[in-house]
Each structure stands twice: as C-alpha cells, then as structure tokens.
Point group: none
C-alpha cells in the first residue's frame, strides 16, 4: 500500500521544541495512525532511512520509534522485505467501526496511563533497582517453599485477614528493630502485596480525593502514581544534600512522602536536624509522614541513621518496606509499620479491598528469615553491591575523570551521575539503548520541569566483569556529547 | 551532671547471651534513656574508657555504641571535654504523650472501614461463596507447582508486565470460549490478583471521582467497596426475577456493574431480552458494562446463556472472572477480558499500580488446565454442588415445608431463602452463631433500606452429611420465629 501521504502528514506535527523528544513524538503519532486504522494491518511502512530523509530526522530517531512500536506489537519486521503494520493487532479490531465509549479512559485513567509509561523491562547495565538474581540462594528458598507447602494447613487456602502470618510479623519486628531501630510490636506490622499496595492503602484510608500530598522532587514515580490513583493532589518538594527540604510555601498536606535513609533517586541522606524539623512540621500541620525505606538494607556507610519512625514521639510516621530488593521483585511482598490506632482499620480494609497474599509464601519467608538465610543473603549482597559501586566509581573516574560527577552512594543500589544543564538525557538514552545500555534519565523522576540533569545508574544487577565494559560504552557515548 | 547511676542501671540489662551483640544492646539502652529524658540534653556521659571498666566491657564495644549514637545525632563530642547528649535531639521529644493526627482516617477511609466489616471467617454451614477445599486435588496442584518451580526461568523473579503469562491467557481464552461463549483473543485477557483488583482497576481507569456507577440492589459488597475506594458514587438498581431491572430514573452512569449469569445474591438469571435491553441502554448512555461472572462455572441448568460479552457488538462489556471458587480463594487470581482498545492501558497501569502476580503460580495454573485437572475438578464439583443443593432443598422441604421458600439455584454455590417482611435477620444470625450455624442476612447486600428479608445459604462448602443436621438447627431456630 502506498504511504506517500505519511511524511506530509507527520511533518507539521513533529515539533523540535517540545520536551518530548522527536522519537517519542514519532512513535506516538504512528501509533495513533495504526490504532485509528489510517495505517492498516499488513500494510508496509516506509524504511527508516527513507522516512528519516523525508522528515529530516536522524535515522536513529526513526529507528527508535519503530523499535518501540515493534516491541509493543504494532509493527513487525519481515526479513528482507521491510516493516509492516502487525496483523495480530488489526485482527482484534471489530469488523464494523468501534462503538466503544467515545472517551475510553477517564481523565484519571488517562493520567495514570501517562504516568505508567514503564521503563523498559530489559536486564543489564545500568538499570536501577535491579537486584542480582543470579546470586539469590534459590535452592534454599525453594526448600523453604517446599517445606511450607508440605505443612500448610488447609485453611490457608481460604482468604486470610490477620494482617499477615504472625510468624512472619514476629521475625520482621525483630529484624527491623535490630537493623533499623524501628520500634514496633509484631501486631503493628501489616504484610502487603508489595509497597505499591501499601501506598495505595495509606492514600485511601488516610486522605480524601483532592487532599494535598507532598512528594520529593525528584522522587519515586510509583509513589506519585499511587497518589494520583487515589485522587490526591501532589505537590513537589525540592530535595537538597540533606534530603527533602522544608518548603517555604505549599498547601497544607494530609500526607508527606519521604525517603530519609537514601533519597530516591538522589541518594541524599536526611540529616538528623532535618528529620527533627520534618517531625515538627508534620505535628504543626497535623498530618502523616510516610517513610519509605526502600533499600535501607544495603547501607554502605559505617553508621546508618536510625529510621525516622524511631524518632517519632507522635505516632504519625508510617514506615514502609519491601522484600522486592532483598529477596526478589516477583515475590511481591512488602510491609507497613503502623501506629497502633491504624492497625485495625488497615487490616480490615486490606482484607476487603486487596486480600492478603498467600500465607504459604509468607510462611516460607518466615522460615527463610529464621534459618538465617535472609540475614546471610543481605550481608553477602551488601558486600557485593558495595564492591560494584566502587568498580563503577573507579571506571567512571578513569574513563571520564571529573566530567561525570557521581553522588548518593551512601546506601543502596544506584548512583546519581550529574550532567550539565540542558543536556539532552532522552537523546542519550535512545542512543545508549541502541548499544544495549539502559540509561535512566533523572528527568523521569520529576513532576515539573527538571532543575538539573543526570542519570540514575544502577549497579547492583550488573556483574562485576560487566561494569568496566558498560562504562566504556557510556564514556564513548558521552565523549562527543559532553564537549 | 552526675551520671553515677548509669552503670548500675545498665549493668543488669546487658546480657551476653543474646543474639544482639553487647554494643548494640548498649546503644539501644542509652538511646532509650535519652529519648525518655533520663539522660537530658546537654548532660555529659561517662568517657568510654570509664564506662567500659564499670560495665566490664571492651572499650571498643562502648566506643561503637557511642559512635552509632553520635551518627544518629543523640550524642556529640566536644573536643577535650567529653561526650554530651545532643541539644538538637531534645527538640524531637514531645513533652506530652501521643499526638497522632486528630482525625486519623479520612472520610473515605472511615467509609471504607465501615464497609469492610467482614463477615466472620469461620468455615461451615451455611457460609456463601465457600468452595469445599477438602475436595480440591491438592496433590495434582502441588505437582504442577513443583514442576513450575523447577522450570521457572530466572527472569520470572523480576516484575512482569505482559498482562499475565501467555500460556495461561491462551488456556483461559479457549476455556472461556468453550464454556461461556466469551469471544476473545488471549491478548485481551488481563490476569489480575483477584477480581477485587480487577474491579479497582476498572473503576480507576474508566471513571473519575464523582462519576456515577450503577450497582445491583441487593448486590455484591466487594463491588461496592471497590467503587467507594475509587471515589465513585454508587446508585442502587433494583433486581427482579429477570435480573438487574432497567431503572426508570438514575443519574447517567459511567459504569454499570452486573452479574447476569447468576445475580448475586438473588440467583436470578438475566433473560436474553433484558441483556439486549442493557446493551442498548449502555450504548445510549455511552458507558461501560462490567459483567461479573463470579460462579458461572457451576451452572446447574441444562442450557446456560452465553455471556453478555458475547452479545456485545460495541466493545463496551468488560468480562470479569475469578479462580477463587473453582480453585481456592488464597490463590488470588482473577482475570478481565478487555475490549481491544483497553488492553494496553490496563496492562501498563496494572504493572505500575499493582504489579503482576508471580508467573510461577500462573504457569502452574496453565499446566493444571492443560493437563485437564481444571476441567475435571470443575465437572466433579459441579456435580457435588448440584447434589448438595438438592440435599438442602429436600431438608428444608421436609423440615420447614413452604415456610422457607428457596430460589436462585440455577447456578452457583448458594440459595436464597426468603423470610417474611419485618423479620429480624440480624437477631437470627446472632442466635444461630451461638449454635455454630453461620447465616448471612440478605440485608448485608443492600446499600439502602432492604425491601425484602432473607438468608443467603451457602451449601457448596458443607459436606453432604452435614446438610441435614445443619438444616435441623436452622429449622429449630426458625420454628419459634416464623410463627
């Protein structure tokens, strides 16, 4: 099918000045054309080289858009004959014109969809938040699972509503006290199906639609999504080297979300005086603080500060943790440490709204902790991740000198690399992806216009021997771009 | 300030046998003393050498505790003059006791808490929605799980975002087509962590806070909770013997929630003409229909109607199913069959907001289906549940005659027993519970004032030989109350 009209159609719509880069714009426009049937199933689309010339774009820009569309199933390449609009997709279209609601997603749904553009799912350098799963003691975990399966009482096949298996909550309370100075009774712990579920529960039970929530900027996109999903209004609060900074003015919040141990993604550790100031401010506003301690287990400095929760005399801090990083993501287990008066409503509402996760897995995890595998694995990984951070620091220092300053390595699994203002992180991301290097622009963590540029470099999931080669690729990419 | 009492206070509390090392114990004890004001801001603490001697500890043990307390800001060293309790810290202490927010739950949270009063968690006669887990083929399921564990690729330990394991979606598409005439490609299926999660996703992505949703009255409390959680306004729509009735007036809805196959809890089967009328009305209002087929697998009549979804020419029906009843509740797996244009936003938003359930379980389930265990189990249970329904009907007929009319047994796991108007169901429920009989008042399923009285009698989870004795207890309770 002749697609001569295509570049004439696209050209006026591509805008070089938008914050959305050209490749992303092209991807979006093509997707719309396919979804509305303007580009029909089975029809050929122009070769990337040809379209690039017609639109006066770099060929990589077009290639990146095509690759994204292929990854999402809109396009398929046929060897030697070019790229086509996918049959599979078109086949799902109803024979007659679609008559689904004219506005399929709600305004909230459209915002959530926009906020849910997930970073790609590949593994490798330098994806943040990715534990090294090859080093997870899978045999020991499977033994715990098998034991749990053999001994599980039949009633565990029913819905549960205790707020989590008591054995797991006991093990966890002890662990949190010893490692993070978190003060709680096992009853105050609510086992959730991941920290995202915990955030959603907090947002719904403690705030009404339209209430203000303060979020760190830059910050964790998942927290933003949970607040959006629950109808809260996010207010970005700047972060400095002492962590989340006290704002001069912002609407009175109902919730404050913070990552004091290791700010995500800058890595700033919140100073004690800042912690005290936040607790005082929360008291003044009579609001709650959510303390997300997402990677506190991997502290690389000698004396980690105790959790904010342990300083709180008012019972207004809710401590949030996850097993995604210390165990593995698909386990989907997290927990809240709740002030006593919230325990019962949270427990009941979780049972009603989300349901508790299978006690079989929780029992296996309690067993895994009690046998010492958990503490052993964390110690081992802390050492390995610390070494990988050093390897990355050395590689960057030797290859890039001071042109790529690194910061935020006091804990965790990533470093923040600073780039000059007005650096095009998105273009770098695309170029890097072509070479199998996955870079996360700092801009992804901003709600408003970013005030600085950078990359969030995850090192935890990168094998030792891959760090230098990956940094070499990064250095080559930066060489021309940093001049 | 003189701290002579300190070592006398500390000595008996330090225990050499604890798993917590001595330095950690000392740190914790000192911190408590500071936080409770026993060691006051600005006061000097003994030199590490002195305290070590007094407590008979190594000096490094004391030093490590002091260092940790300094790092956390509890202590500060002043050169040449010793170590002091930090001034900065004193500020965090609240002079009075607890000062958690005055209004702990939000308005939404309070409503959700109210709506989450869960029915009790016991097993036995006559709890609705309870499958007989003693008859579940647990060995075969565990074999599927073990196989899945042995063969699971490592990447399944990461977050997934395909909308569910393709093998499970394929198996399910075929199953739904064969048994429920649901028309869909595997790509249209989204595997959720239970039907509650599916409902929450629909409410959020397809409606905004304040939008109207129509719910059956009486109806499923879980659907009401999901709508409330998402800020929608529920409008109760009456149910008659043909299912959900078309209302004469109600605010234009964004969503309509219905259980056409077997209305919950009345058991009414929606007639074909009613189905067509609802599809037309949905078109007229340009809104979505949620078809919850919560127990369609256990159809006890010869010719079940095809799913509403299969009649829909407009792509505006979302079909909702669950494995809680055909497998077991704690599995927490459900699914949506989505119109094509919703597939991609739902998939992305689920991955971002809830996360996908572990593919290990999904693979085990796909295996369980492919090996025929699933269909075999459903056939076996359908027969058993049909028999139990007959046993219950006979028992009621012989013991209570026509004074307790039963209805709604065309499918599923429960019958509706009608009681006279103004009968006090709640009093009966309490009296029955005293005798180990669990009765669910129909009134629990109403948002507004109930227009009839009744009991939802679940029979599926009651062993054959327990049905007559349980009905005898019920008959005794009713004897005096029905006069």
């Amino acid at each position: 099918m002749n697609q001569d009209w295509l570049s004439a159609f696209l050209k006026p719509k591509l805008q070089r000045k938008l914050t959305e880069n050209l490749s992303r714009q092209l991807y979006r426009l093509l997707k719309e054309l396919i979804r509305h049937g303007r580009l029909q199933a089975g029809s050929a689309i122009p070769a990337s080289r040809q379209l690039a010339e017609e639109l006066k774009l770099g060929r990589n820009t077009v290639l990146a858009a095509y690759e994204q569309l292929s990854a999402e199933g809109y396009l398929e390449s046929r060897h030697g004959s070019g790229t086509y609009v996918c049959q599979a997709f078109a086949a799902t279209r109803a024979p007659s014109a679609l008559r689904a609601p004219r506005r399929p997603l709600s305004r909230r749904g459209a915002s959530l969809h926009e906020a849910s553009r997930l970073p790609h799912n590949k593994m490798g350098a330098f994806i943040p938040g990715q534990p090294d799963l090859a080093l997870f003691p899978i045999e020991q975990w499977q033994k715990c699972l098998s034991r749990s399966q053999r001994t599980a009482p039949q009633e565990w096949m029913h819905y549960q509503r205790e707020g989590g298996l008591p054995a797991l909550r006991h093990a966890l309370a002890e662990y949190l006290f010893l490692t993070r100075s978190v003060q709680c009774k096992p009853e105050q712990i609510l086992i959730t199906s991941g920290s995202q579920a915990g955030l959603a529960l907090i947002a719904k039970l403690l705030a009404d639609a339209g209430d203000a929530v303060w979020l760190e900027e830059p910050g964790y996109a998942g927290a933003q999504a949970a607040m959006l999903e629950s109808g809260l209004i996010s207010h970005p609060i700047a972060v400095d080297e002492e962590g989340m900074a006290l704002p001069s003015r912002a609407p009175t919040p109902r919730l404050i979300y913070a990552t004091p141990a290791h700010q995500y993604p800058t890595g700033a550790v919140m100073s004690l005086s800042r912690r005290v100031a936040w607790l005082n401010l929360a008291r003044q506003h009579d609001c709650w603080i959510i303390e997300d301690d997402y990677d506190g287990e991997f502290c690389h400095s000698a004396n980690p500060l105790a959790a904010l929760q342990s300083l709180d005399q008012d019972n207004r801090v809710i401590y949030l943790g996850t097993f995604s990083k210390v165990m593995f993501p698909a386990l989907k287990l997290g927990y809240l440490v709740l002030p006593p008066e919230l325990v019962e409503p949270f427990r009941q509402c979780q049972a009603r709204l989300h349901g508790e996760t299978h006690y079989l897995q929780q029992a296996a995890l309690a067993d895994f902790i009690e046998r010492g595998h958990f503490a052993h694995h964390i110690r081992a990984m802390r050492e390995i991740y610390a070494r990988r951070q050093q390897l990355l620091r050395h590689a960057v220092q030797s290859l890039l000198g001071d042109s790529l300053p690194l910061s935020g390595g006091g804990a965790g699994m990533h470093l923040l690399a600073s780039l000059p203002k007005h650096f095009d992180e998105w273009e770098l991301q695309l170029a890097a992806a072509q070479q199998g290097l996955w870079l996360r622009p700092l801009a992804r963590h901003y709600q408003s216009a970013p005030d600085r540029n950078g990359l969030v470099l995850g090192y935890a999931g990168v094998p030792d021997e891959r760090i230098l080669p990956a940094t070499q690729t990064l250095a080559q990419l930066l060489e021309t771009r940093l001049k």
